[in-house]
Symmetry: C2
Subunit: 190 residues, 2 copies
Amino acid sequence: MSEEFDLPDDRGHCHDFHLTVPEGDDRERRVCRACGFVDYVNPKIIVGAVVSHEGRILLVRRAIPPRTGFWTIPAGYMEEGESVAEGAAREVHEEAGAHIAIDALLAVYSIPRISQVQMIHRAILTRPDFAPGIESLEARLFAYDEIPWADLAFPSVHWALRDWLRVQGRADFAPFGNPPGDDGRRLPSF
Amino acid sequence: MSEEFDLPDDRGHCHDFHLTVPEGDDRERRVCRACGFVDYVNPKIIVGAVVSHEGRILLVRRAIPPRTGFWTIPAGYMEEGESVAEGAAREVHEEAGAHIAIDALLAVYSIPRISQVQMIHRAILTRPDFAPGIESLEARLFAYDEIPWADLAFPSVHWALRDWLRVQGRADFAPFGNPPGDDGRRLPSF
């Protein structure tokens, strides 16, 4: 996850962009003066999971910016050609070397400031082994009361872990959204 | 919604793209030989709603390709700077001139073939007036047994309308996903 990054302003130098409203559109887009290319920018989907194993929760410690060294649930950008759940399982495998079974969509968080929609699932390990991937310094199971709250990487990691607890043992529930009024701009204080 | 369209292969002529694996990445991307720009392509989010008013359902008839002349629920591409629910309300207003209150996330459909994730909400009209927008030929309320099933634009419109019926009167439910084994490639036959 990279909530601390804004979208890059520079998307390559070859196009000669200016801001204009394309025909049939209703808002300004970056349009290339030379070739007419319209740089439509849509929100990006982050897929991830709160993964538990015998009641403990799998977290990874980030090896890359932003928030290097802080703990997060495994999550990352959804790729083309996969479903939301497939993407979440792929990210968990990439970042924590773990194999999971997803049983619910836990939450859909919108972070408009950085144009992210985060689709966080609830899952369990299907095999007890795991290991940090290339983007992780560590992967570890934490009992809920051992979670390093002050060292979590992003606000939405807090949200997901708290929401996970609220539906423990429940099978059919509506996914959580952002905490009311919270757009993910700040970490909770301690 | 534009499920019938594949993503355009031509995203502007200024870049001189070749396929290569960028440093630190694990899959081929389009990278510009001249300026180094990486054309990351992520799935697009479609936001929309099954909107009802006194038991009848709001559909719009498409004025634009793909599937011009066919009926759909109001839906379209999520924009930057909005939440998922805000985007759905905006699309309903743009396509059907309607004001809505959303009460649930009805479904999350993944259509990997065209890299779409569709987030379809359940909503009601908050005012009885509505009118087709510029992308719609008509906007109309249909009793459920009057829905023009054979003239619906996309497979996922079928899914959403059927899923809507399955949770009528229910408040707290997990959003539906694709029908098992269905990747949205074909319309149901009649």
